[in-house]
């Protein structure tokens, strides 16, 4: 089977992206819960570009004459899924952030109240 240029470019891009992701994992710059989706997004184009016959069959079945267009569509769906996942993660972080801010405010208020009460008791005992 003849390998076309777009396959080579897609495979090369995928290998570079995978290498970057792996390096970030190795340096612990990507958190455990977040590296797997990135690894999937990085490796998927490599598999898709090398193992093209199923893609071509699906593209023909869908009526797509230019098969790489399906690869592009798949990449867009993957990016969309990744963004959605990250938005869910950020939403969770925002919720936790607000909760922490509330807890901090409540604790500070309680400390102030306890300090005031302690001060009042000391002045009473004198």
């Amino acid at each position: 089977m003849e390998i076309q240029l777009f396959q080579t470019v897609a495979a090369f891009g995928s290998i570079v992206l995978t290498a970057i992701v792996v390096e970030l994992i190795r340096r612990r710059r990507l958190k455990d819960e977040l590296w797997l989706p990135w690894l999937i997004v990085a490796i998927a184009p490599l598999i898709a570009s090398l193992w093209i016959s199923p893609w071509a069959a699906v593209a023909h079945w869908l009526g797509i004459r230019y098969e790489p267009a399906l690869l592009l569509g798949f990449a867009i769906v993957l990016c969309f899924a990744l963004l959605l996942y990250l938005t869910v993660v950020v939403s969770g972080l925002m919720r936790q952030n607000l909760r922490l801010a509330q807890e901090l405010g409540i604790l500070r208020l309680r400390i102030d109240a306890a300090t005031d009460r302690g001060g009042a008791q000391r002045s009473d005992s004198r």
Partner: protein
């Protein structure tokens, strides 16, 4: 049924020796010119209330003004938004064992003298959540015509979609009993809290009613909601309301 007075957080009116089971939450963001008056008017009520000003990361000395007026101040470390401010007050109130938690805004638009009217339906056992409505009697400041149209839209939508009949669903003047307060303390929208809270309470089987109140024009400063924000708010709340109808209450 009688309950012991709460105020375990020690937020009671310093002028009164009586403990109270009502916490008045006053969210405020950069309201240095108004919040002191709100606190003083609340303290001047015949019934002693615990007053908690939630300073939402103000940079103009709002917290100090509230303390000077005699309130306890819960200072959020940064601006978290109106929903998170109110929720912080609700959480403190629920944890502190207050039987009723009321809210009036720190901009001075709500007259604290309405608080007894707001509390009456809860004390009589007629409602879990009571809204102070500026439209029931049509007295006082009625807001701009554009805002009135928006509020009428939400009123219609709430009735059609959720069967909730209230005349001022975006009012920031309300009171909640323990059950309603606990529900809202657990989950309170940070962006469009009032209408979303009504849907959530109604879906949890809480009885909701409104009582007439008078609103005043803001004594000083300007609203944080601009004209464009109004349209954004309308669209967002409409979609949120429809989603809230199908959302899990857990």
């Amino acid at each position: 049924m009688s309950h012991p007075a709460a105020d375990s957080e020690g937020l009671g009116n310093p002028d009164s020796a009586a403990a109270t089971d009502v916490l008045v939450v006053v969210p405020a963001y950069n309201e240095v010119g108004n919040v002191g008056r709100v606190v003083e008017e609340t303290r001047a009520c015949r019934e002693p209330f615990a007053i908690l000003v939630v300073d939402d990361g103000s940079v103009d000395g709002t917290g100090a003004a509230a303390v000077a007026a005699g309130a306890r101040v819960l200072r959020l470390p940064f601006n978290c938004g109106i929903g998170a401010s109110v929720q912080a007050g609700l959480r403190l109130g629920v944890e502190g064992g207050y039987r009723i938690i009321a809210r009036i805004d720190g901009d001075g638009q709500h007259d604290p003298a309405v608080l007894p009217d707001l509390l009456a339906p809860i004390r009589d056992g007629r409602a879990d959540f009571v809204i102070g409505s500026r439209y029931l009697n049509g007295e006082g400041f009625q807001s701009t015509s554009a805002r009135r149209m928006g509020i009428r839209w939400f009123t219609t939508l709430l009735q059609a979609v959720c069967g909730i009949r209230v005349s001022d669903p975006t009012s920031g003047c309300w009171a909640a009993n323990e059950r309603a307060a606990a529900l809202l303390a657990e989950e309170y929208s940070s962006d469009y809290p009032e209408v979303d809270a009504l849907v959530r309470l109604a879906r949890s089987g809480c009885a909701i009613c409104d009582v007439p109140t008078r609103m005043r024009e803001r004594p000083s400063g300007s609203s944080s909601i601009g004209r464009l924000d109004g349209f954004y708010y309308m669209a967002k709340v409409t979609i949120a309301l429809l989603i809230a109808r199908i959302r899990s209450t857990q």
